[in-house]
Symmetry: C2
Subunit: 376 residues, 2 copies
């Protein structure tokens, strides 16, 4: 057995592939979709147009993208059998657990390899329909069918809440979906690309993505920001709560990011959205917790470059548009189906099986089983 | 945006972590589980004892492992609600698509982080129970409950076929399960470790593993070996069929492996098992196809080190134990739940988020959206 080589644990500095989809500028606080910085897109560019940009490579000829609007309309009906699976899910299941099974149930044997643009549209269109069906049913309400006259963001909120959102609320949710649509080679996108690299299909790969997004180190923690704000309760209690928490060596939710060493550009735009749609007292509380949290963290570690991340004002915006916190991570996934689809198409266009090595450090070979074996 | 660095596409030479679980000797044709070469384990070591070895690190005090036997018995009842999901699956769904949803349905919110030994036992015990339930139902038969007096391999075959297997058949399937229980850092195990690295749970991570195993470049192709043998039909037709196939630049199923540059040690042991349990005419056909296929491939590429892989005699053995070919990859997954569980425990024991970089090669930043945006 070979001597131990360099271990790239975490793959931090390893560049796994080229990509034309998005660029994360961790030092400068930038996120760029195919050349467009996100402040160029938010607010104002419809989610359908961003789906067009991410999946097809260029902006559409008009907004919202006519091709994507049409394709999402055509593909909103889930495959035969998927609704039966959704209706069999226990209403007590956390929606994030349900969503993993929902994405898997989309895969009915008709998703193949290589993935197609139509596969991407199906995934993007059907995920919110089935998620909303589960949520409505779990709350004892009848499902709300999607409407051909509503945008993707309007449909999502309407299917979840049962009523058509105010325009400002729909625009805020749409901006959230745009900002969360892709983010370079994060862990869930990487898991999706690993799955596609074996020539697996998009429904399977998106399920792998969701299974990975679910972890609190990736997308599974934003609801904890809301829990934290509730626990603090008012701006004057922020300092004491934060000090106690840090004294117990516990983390502050929504602070810090592996990629960004400055402001997370998504969080800045979400903060601006929160100023428009959040309740004033909630916004004030969030801003106080951000300011006092950063002050406390920077006092403890003067050299650390710490900022709030996308989960911080993301939680405030998702609260303000009327989504319950158990839907925060599922809504992140609804947004990310765009990026996942784009990455699946890109991986398949120039594929190579992703299969790293590992260094075996277990017992040397040649051990003998401690007992005689039957039949020898 | 930075200039392009070294791209590790496929991660071929990248060592992602240390592992004590198994070692693949690609040059020498070895597979070692925690120091035990597989010819030391097969035939004879029960699957339960290999689960013990892989998950707990050392062989059990007696065979079959009393601890694992007891734990699998205790954990064979699926969580509330999972059977309802299985019964809602369309009977026309390919079993491999069904199994992805089944693994996801195991995750009911009670699998947490870090994964535990009990989580592993639950996954290993419940996967065949629910898979068999789906298969029985899809064929119009009542489910068969697992029996506390049968081994894991006997239970699997009994639950699938409805009758208790002959001892020699059960031993052959048990050896298959042992040989496929782990295989270093393959793509599905890597996807599972990526999922665990975000502090996701074992049910989610195993679902990501299955989504990745499903691809034909990994585990999704063994049934094609059986299809190929059927298409050839008799040894005397092997040369002509192979020549025609290679002339069309198509692959021969069950030949070649990314890791092994010599005989795949699992395939040698499966060949020995096939000699015991396969129909003589089927064995003769397989051996002729292997010999003529290797001769043709080596004539075309004299320097290539090509051999049949685990899928080749794996297919012959799985046919012989009475499994239909659409269950070949699901049975591979049933075996691999052991390795997946061991890798999840190992990843969590010294975790770091697995998140590589990528080189952005898309349009430069600073593009302007082609139209004015509403609300600006």
């Amino acid at each position: 057995m070979p001597t131990e080589p360099v271990i790239e644990k975490g793959l931090d500095r390893v560049v796994v592939d080229r990509s034309s989809i998005s660029w994360v500028g961790g030092e400068t606080g930038e996120l760029v979709y195919r050349g467009f910085s996100i402040p160029e897109l938010v607010p104002g560019v419809p989610y359908e147009s961003v789906v067009h940009l991410l999946l097809r490579g260029e902006p559409p000829a008009s907004d919202p993208s006519p091709e994507v609007t049409q394709a999402l309309r055509e593909h909103r009906s889930p495959p035969a059998g998927a609704e039966e699976v959704v209706d069999a899910l226990s209403p007590r299941l956390p929606p994030l657990e349900a969503l993993r099974t929902i994405l898997s149930a989309l895969g009915d044997g008709t998703y193949g390899y290589p993935p197609t643009l139509a596969d991407g549209y199906r995934l993007i269109a059907q995920t919110p329909v089935l998620l909303a069906r589960f949520v409505r049913r779990a709350n004892g309400h009848a499902p709300v069918a999607p409407s051909a006259s509503l945008s993707h963001a309007e449909n999502y909120l309407t299917m979840i809440t049962g009523r058509r959102p105010e325009p400002e609320v729909a625009r805020a949710l749409e901006s959230y979906l745009v900002l969360l649509a892709d983010h370079g080679m994060n862990a869930s996108t990487f898991a999706l690309r690993v799955a596609i690299s074996t020539q697996s299909d998009l429904a399977s790969a998106a399920t792998a993505g969701l299974a990975t997004l679910k972890g609190p180190l990736h997308g599974g923690a934003p609801s904890k920001v809301s829990d934290m704000l509730d626990a603090i309760g008012s701006p004057d209690r922020a300092d004491a709560w934060i000090a106690e928490r840090l004294a117990r060596k516990e983390v502050l939710f929504g602070f810090g990011h592996r990629a960004y060493k400055t402001e997370d550009p998504r969080n800045l735009l979400l903060h601006a959205l929160a100023r428009k749609v959040a309740r004033p007292d909630r916004l004030q509380l969030a801003e106080a917790v951000e300011a006092r949290g950063l002050a406390a963290l920077r006092a403890a570690k003067p050299t650390a470059r710490l900022y709030t991340n996308v989960e911080f004002y993301g939680a405030v915006v998702l609260e303000a548009v009327g989504l319950p916190r158990e839907l925060f991570t599922p809504t992140f996934a609804v947004a990310r189906t765009a990026g996942w689809s784009a990455h699946a198409l890109e991986q398949a266009a120039d594929n190579r099986l992703i299969r790293p090595e590992m260094a075996y450090v277990g017992p040397a070979k040649g051990r003998r089983w401690p007992r005689p074996l039957p039949g020898r």
